[in-house]
Symmetry: C2
Subunit: 336 residues, 2 copies
Amino acid sequence: MQNFNIKELAKALGLSTSTVSRAFRDNSDISKETKERILAKAREFNYQPNHYASNLREQRSKTIAVIVPELANNFFSQAIHGIERVARDKGYHILIYATEDDYEKEVSFIRHLHNGRADGIIMSVSGEANDHTYLNELSQKRLPLVFFDRVYEDIITPRVITNDYDSSFSATEHLIKQGCKKIAYLVINKNLSIGKFRMQGYIDALAKYEIPFDDRLVVDCTNSYAKNNLILKRLLVDVGPDGVFTSVERLAFATYYACYDLNIQIPQQLRVIGFSSLEIAPLLNPSLTTVTQPATKIGIEAANLLFKMLEAPETVDPNEEIVLNSKLIKRRSTEK
Amino acid sequence: MQNFNIKELAKALGLSTSTVSRAFRDNSDISKETKERILAKAREFNYQPNHYASNLREQRSKTIAVIVPELANNFFSQAIHGIERVARDKGYHILIYATEDDYEKEVSFIRHLHNGRADGIIMSVSGEANDHTYLNELSQKRLPLVFFDRVYEDIITPRVITNDYDSSFSATEHLIKQGCKKIAYLVINKNLSIGKFRMQGYIDALAKYEIPFDDRLVVDCTNSYAKNNLILKRLLVDVGPDGVFTSVERLAFATYYACYDLNIQIPQQLRVIGFSSLEIAPLLNPSLTTVTQPATKIGIEAANLLFKMLEAPETVDPNEEIVLNSKLIKRRSTEK
């Protein structure tokens, strides 16, 4: 690999290296003609100014980091797609990290970002964390941080979320209006705030219609397909709900698989509704009623918020919270 | 934001800055005790050595770039998931870029990576490109580059692909054995090599069973849902195929939607098979017969190959080609 350096480039142009270097920094004390001549020669030589050297001068990496629990997940891949569109328009690069809901990984990623690799962080938090004081520890020199969807309540930083309580209330109410009296609520990570809000919506909707709360119907699931299949079959056989509301997309799929296995008809014997960003929900058997979060829009708003923090930090309230609305889309899985 | 620098840290320790700096570079001429003392104090001060400064010394970014046509896509998000796992184990960071099948973006991303931001590139090429000599132009100082899935035939660099010709042949043969005599082949970007191999498998399977090739049955689709819906309805009404083989997942979904709209029964009136990485293909109505590529494994192999190029370039043949097998999974959409 042949590498031309700035000295060789300057020599070929008959200029000093500092003039050439200034041209790459868009320095206004160089004439337009000279600058164009330098850039043309650079293209010919295939020369690119060293990124690290110029960033060391500017103290900007032009990079943002995106930390999510999972990559192979509809919601997060759509959100990243939204973030990418905004970042690209701004000429920024994106680093991605997947915590796999592992708190240790989350801490390690964040610590490693506090060395100039990124200018800011957009994060949907791992589900495991109970102690996230590490973010406070870092707060004195904290990078601009925006939470989206899954947030830590006790960390003060701007965030983009959806109306989880209202959505859950509406989803549960919809099942009740379709005739369900024994509604299971499936969750992963009850302790995350998002899980709490969603669960409260479920509880309050039951109360409104005077349906007694039964804690056998609140089921803590996992990220493992095999384990969920067992958990759900046990629920369907032993407790026998007539409706299922899932706080996570994959739990709706797990419910379908369990029903197929047990030959339970959806919606005749069991009505199902789930939070889901699946674009092909209408193609499922039966088509799935969903609470659909605007995933791409969430990504776009989170990125806009982070760039506002980078470009005009004084205009951003640390308590800023953007709440987007999810949409209840009724399909066959909850029909009467 | 309070920032401790290396001078303040060294002063607090009563050491020289060069000793402290060497500790962060894992320099063996510093005693274990001193090193531990330095690292403990650094933690206390929340000091991180500047990433750009140390990379400028090492000429390594510890970062790889991943360029894909789309992010909100099952195949690519699973492949990125595989790449991420390998990179994380190696302590590497990942930059991601989405070309949206736009050749200009692809060129621009690659040009911007040749300045030290990344040590290597893993890419699935954009569909548009006819002229990719830009990669040859850059070849003199080219970063290690691995193609996966979608490749440029005329660029010599290691690659991870699947057995596209064989898979297409088997998929077409499967439709023929299920009784289809008028099989449509749906494609996006006929010109990409992956499209050519897949199409050749279709053509050769027809020939083997003496079914005449009819070019009205080879349909060039788009990335737009609305346009595909029109194109497919026209095909179904005007040409009337009894089988559809789609080279891209979203075209199988488009076929389902068009059949729903026209009240055409799958599989009774039309059998459908498609390349797809959709994990919930069994939940579709009807469940979809797929040619499933090992997407996560493709990502893992591509990342392993790139790290081999980074760590021991002399051991990698530039013509190296890893071919993984896709799997034909028969489901209801092609039943007799």
